[in-house]
């Protein structure tokens, strides 16, 4: 159909569908892009069509459905508008010049340059009268933006493309510019993503706010900010349930004297991230762009502001990519290195930004980018589900004696499936209430009180805690709670190792911060079997981490390296830089002032570099730190399944599941396994089993399965008759009969089973016969009867059918 439609478009417009787009005449290209408007094309005598064209249909479809918006987004690129060349203003406005510069030119250069331009402007008296105040305001605001470390941004940069830290600093500059007094400003980690060189200016901006008569309340982990604060409040002592107390309060010096304050101890230098006495050896980097063993090289990178640089990443070590904001770190690592590795190693679709080539790929087996994107969009996704921990926990709960007695499988403990979850909120724990004229609100489910499960499911407890309680436990608590189960312990230990010990396991994914999401991903990767020769990429993994947690995170990264992997980290945190084996420092500034590799080598080389902006800060950090040789261990292997299984089975010792204990009662009971009342007559099943057992000369059937009752010829091999009993409205009876002895229409006539439609008072419909013969197998014909009433199975015809189908000659059968 699509071909017919396209041919109609091409035929009526006079071009050939085989002609490449670039070779089409302008009018035809325009037609492909913008369609035929209201003109209707005759496709054939039964179909007319209007061709919308690519651009309008993409625009229209994107407006219609968010799913398409996302899908189409992958194949679309933003390009500057051809009319204004991306300047956003019309020709008249673009023609106006101030001292020879247009507004478009001024907005497209780094704002530090724009600020310098306006500062250098000298005005005549008349000009001053006209523009003096405006110019002063422009200069002041640009200076404020520059002071908070955003000098590399251009004024025309769109707000959504700013990072969280950048937007926060833009707002901060705006607030300082507003000149308000008596205001309480609350800032959450304003130094995230800020290079140490910009930190001082950022701090100065905060002090300016204070000096205007305001109060700045900052949640922060950054050492320099802590040192310069007027007053510190240290909360702790631990995280999650172990926190929540004020440990110290006072000036930085007072807090330093508090031995119980971990923050104070870090400030005082008592606790610190030690610098390794000996770093891992790295042979000299390749020269002249030649491939070299042990190195992964990007040659001729020129994406965004990168200046045709050759970047060499040593393999098997911890490499830190540093440099001021906007110097090109993300462009190099996330936009060239990662997509290229993913493209070559995993067949990903996206390719990296412009570069000449990449060398050393053959030495790498895989790449894992541990970014700060959310782990999921819905509240159904949480750390416990994302790390695969919940599958193990649900399995554990299904192995508990009480669960076994009740016949609960792992699915019973899922909040995504019917059965065990609270149906009032469908396992969400919350319900959406639509409010007229007001935004919809989420309220806790009254039925389950936010626990997500129904009361029967919550009855099953392991060491006094139900599955709902597990979702509320922190990773640290759970580690203690489940310490007997090696595979569960392994995943929880990795979560604790990456500093997530405080995190509730069931915390909905949308409520995790970027840093938390990143560490959940890291924990998941760490819990997997180590592969070696994998490149791990992390963008600022210390975001939101306390110094003590940074220490833990570094240990985890070092363990990955010890297992033969390569870890490449983009980072501003000096604690990470000083323990890295290798540093690639970009700069020297941001935006057009960056894009070069300023220094590369072990941290000591960077510290000694005169050109590096990072160097002086790193030098100071190295001088402050003590050196010791830590003993890192390679990342541990996940425990064997057999050990885990043994621990689970020990739980269930001597406990039989209900179908194992009394299969007959289970299959003939008043409810299906999902708790719905069984509607078909139990006598139908009993009679069928009696008939089949008698035909086979058996005493009874095998009732010890959750779903099926089976009969085997001579009591072994593959089944020859079985009944599926877990459905509410029918019991499905099946027999494997010798080929060709039954014929569909004759069997229907003989059994005289009414169709569902012909049975009154049953809310089950269908005009199909209730007996079907499937002849697809080479070895047997499969007879299926959808049974309901006992009297139908007791009939003479049914008895004869069963006896004939199960006659003594064995039927060759193959496994299903």
């Amino acid at each position: 159909m699509l071909e017919q439609l396209l041919e109609a478009v091409a035929g009526e417009s006079g071009f050939d569908l085989d002609t490449p787009f670039e070779e089409l005449a302008d009018e035809h290209q325009r037609l492909v892009l913008y369609g035929t408007g209201d003109r209707e094309l005759r496709v054939n005598d039964r179909l007319i069509a209007r061709f919308r064209g690519l651009v309008p249909s993409i625009e229209e479809t994107s407006r219609l459905s968010s799913r398409f918006r996302k899908r189409v987004g992958r194949i679309l690129r933003d390009l500057p508008c051809p009319t204004c060349n991306g300047g956003r203003v019309n020709a008249e406005a673009a023609a106006a010049r101030f001292r020879g510069r247009t507004i478009v030119e001024l907005c497209s250069e780094p704002l530090s340059e724009t600020a310098a331009f306006f500062s250098s402007v000298e005005l005549s008296e008349r000009e001053h009268d006209l523009t003096g105040e405006i110019l002063e305001e422009i200069t002041r605001r640009l200076r404020l933006l520059d002071e908070v470390g955003l000098g590399y941004l251009t004024l025309n940069r769109s707000a959504p493309s700013l990072s969280g830290g950048e937007s926060q600093r833009v707002r901060l500059a705006g607030q300082i510019g507003s000149g308000l007094t008596g205001v309480l400003y609350v800032l959450d980690e304003p130094t995230v993503g800020v290079h140490p060189s910009d930190n001082e200016r950022m701090l100065q901006a905060l002090k300016d706010l204070r000096d205007l008569g305001n109060t700045a309340l900052v949640v922060e982990h950054d050492e320099q900010t802590l040192r310069e604060a007027d007053h510190l409040i240290d909360l702790g002592p631990g995280s999650g349930p172990d926190g929540g107390e004020v440990i110290a309060s006072g000036t930085p010096n007072q807090v330093m004297r508090r031995k119980t304050s971990q923050t104070g101890q870090f400030l005082a230098g008592e606790l610190q991230v030690p610098v390794p006495a000996e770093r891992r050896p790295v042979s000299g980097p390749p020269r002249n762009g030649d491939p070299q063993e042990g190195w992964l090289s990007i040659i001729g990178a020129r994406h965004h502001n990168l200046r045709n640089i050759d970047a060499h990443f040593p393999l098997g070590v911890l490499t830190c990519v540093t440099g001021p904001s906007g110097s090109g770190k993300t462009s190099l690592v996330n936009e060239i290195l990662y997509p290229e590795l993913a493209y070559h190693l995993h067949g990903a679709q996206d390719v990296g930004g412009p570069h000449r080539r990449i060398l050393g790929l053959e030495q790498v087996d895989g790449v894992i980018n541990i970014d700060q994107n959310p782990i999921g969009q819905t509240p159904r996704s949480s750390p416990v589900t994302y790390t695969g921990l919940f599958d193990l926990v649900r399995e554990l709960y299904s192995m508990l004696p009480e669960a076994m007695v009740r016949g609960y499988g792992p699915e019973r403990f899922s909040f995504n499936k019917k059965g065990g979850r609270c149906e009032a909120c469908e396992g969400m724990g919350r319900r959406l209430v639509e409010m007229h004229f007001l935004p919809d609100v989420w309220v806790e489910c009254e039925e389950c009180g936010g626990r997500r499960y129904n009361a029967e499911t919550c009855d099953i407890e392991y060491r006094g805690r139900s599955i709902a309680d597990v979702l509320e436990m922190t990773a640290g608590e759970a580690l203690e709670h489940f310490d007997r189960f090696p595979r569960i312990r392994h995943i929880l230990q990795t979560m604790v190792d990456v500093g997530l010990g405080y995190l509730p396991l069931g915390q909905p994914a949308p409520m995790l911060s970027g840093g938390e999401a990143q560490r959940v991903k890291l924990a998941r990767e760490l819990a997997k079997p180590a592969r070696g020769h994998t490149v791990y990429l992390l963008d600022e993994p210390t975001t939101g981490l306390h110094c003590a947690d940074v220490l833990k995170l570094l240990e985890v990264l070092q363990r990955l390296v010890e297992a033969g992997n390569t870890v490449i980290v983009i980072e501003h945190n000096l604690d990470v830089m000083k323990v890295a084996d290798w540093i690639i420092d970009l700069g020297p500034g941001g935006g057009d002032g960056g894009g070069e590799i300023v220094a590369t080598g072990p941290p000591e080389d960077i510290a000694a570099s005169e050109r590096s902006t990072t160097g002086p800060f790193l030098r100071a950090a190295l001088e402050r730190s003590r050196r010791e040789q830590p003993q890192w261990q390679a990342v541990s292997r996940p425990p064997a399944r057999s050990d885990h299984r043994a621990a689970l089975e020990a739980l269930a010792e001597d406990t039989q599941r209900p179908w194992e204990r009394d299969g007959r009662a289970w299959h003939l009971g008043p409810e299906t396994p999902t708790g719905e009342p069984r509607q078909w007559e139990a006598g139908a099943l009993e009679t069928f089993i009696e008939l089949a057992a008698s035909a086979l000369g058996l005493e009874d059937a095998d009732w010890a399965d959750r779903q099926y009752v089976r009969l085997y010829r001579d009591g072994e091999g593959d089944w020859v008759a079985r009944a599926r009993t877990d459905r509410q409205w029918d019991v499905r009876l099946q027999i494997r009969a010798p080929k060709g002895i039954f014929e569909q229409s004759r069997l229907e006539q003989a059994l005289k089973l009414p169709t569902w439609d012909e049975i009154d008072d049953l809310p089950r419909y269908g005009k199909r016969p209730r007996v079907r013969i499937n002849t697809r197998s080479r070895d047997y014909d499969l007879i299926t009867v959808w049974g309901f009433f006992e009297h139908e199975i007791c009939s003479q015809a049914f008895r004869q059918m069963v006896e004939r189908a199960l006659q003594p000659e064995p039927v060759a059968v193959v496994a299903e």
Binding site: M1, L2, L5, E40, V43, N44, D45, R46, L47, I48, A49, R50, F51, R52, G53, L54, S57, I58, E60, T61, L64, S65, R67, F68, R71, V72, I75, W756, D757, E758, D760, L762, P763, Y765, G766, K767, R768, W786
Partner: protein
């Protein structure tokens, strides 16, 4: 026949207008498709939506009304679900008797009809039809005159068929005439094979947006 899956929906590239041919004699609505001709089969617009193509649609009109037929290949028993039609075998029709295609909100001329091939009718063997409200409508259309809509289902070994006849004014604003264009889309639900679309596409908000439905033009009477 199995349809292709597309990255971008080709259905979005075109505004198809299918010709609903004129027929002199009205269709006998009895569930048997013997009195339909090949020329009344609607173009296979479902292929533009992707997915498996297991149903064929037919349409025709005359002064006595609009006739539709849907033939669905099916070997398994029919299962219907009145509460959630999409969880069983069902047919959904979307009809805009004024076929404007300009607005994104339904008007008083827009209908969403659901038909089950079997159901709780007399003895559970008769097809069932009812109207579903359309969300975010500008105006709610008047209740269809179900006495003026005839429905029949026929069950074969490998398929089932549904026939429908809409008399003039059975749906608000429907007056058959040559050249009349009505908005039309159909979604066929099959419990085993999923959905087949005609005149719209999955992911389009077709349940509420009549601009995502195709058009059916009443063709001229044969000379």
């Amino acid at each position: 026949m199995s349809g292709r899956e597309y990255e971008f929906p080709p259905a979005a590239l075109f505004e198809p207008i299918a010709i609903c041919p004129y027929r002199e004699r009205s269709v006998r609505v009895d569930g048997c498709l013997g009195d339909w001709s090949e020329s009344e089969i609607l173009p296979a617009l479902g292929e533009l939506a992707g997915g498996e193509q297991y149903a064929t649609l037919r349409s025709a009109w005359n002064e006595h009304g609009l006739f539709l037929a849907v033939e669905v290949e099916k070997q398994e028993p029919i299962v219907t679900n009145r509460q959630t039609p999409s969880a069983g075998d069902a047919i959904e029709l979307f009809i805009d008797t004024r076929g404007a295609r300009s607005g994104h909100r339904a008007t008083q001329f827009c209908y969403h009809l659901v038909i089950l091939p079997t159901g709780p009718g007399s003895g559970g063997q008769e097809p069932v039809i009812w109207r579903e409200p359309i969300r975010r409508s500008l105006q709610r259309s008047p209740e269809p005159d179900f006495d003026a809509i005839r429905v029949a289902a026929g069950l074969g070994d490998d398929c089932y068929a549904m026939e429908l006849a809409f008399e003039p004014d059975s749906l608000h604003g429907y007056e058959p005439a040559e050249g009349l264009r009505i908005g039309f889309a159909a979604v066929i639900h099959d419990i085993q094979r999923g959905r087949q679309y005609w005149g719209t596409a999955p992911d389009f908000p077709y349940e509420r947006d009549p601009s995502t439905w195709s058009l059916l033009e009443h063709g001229p009477p044969d000379p």
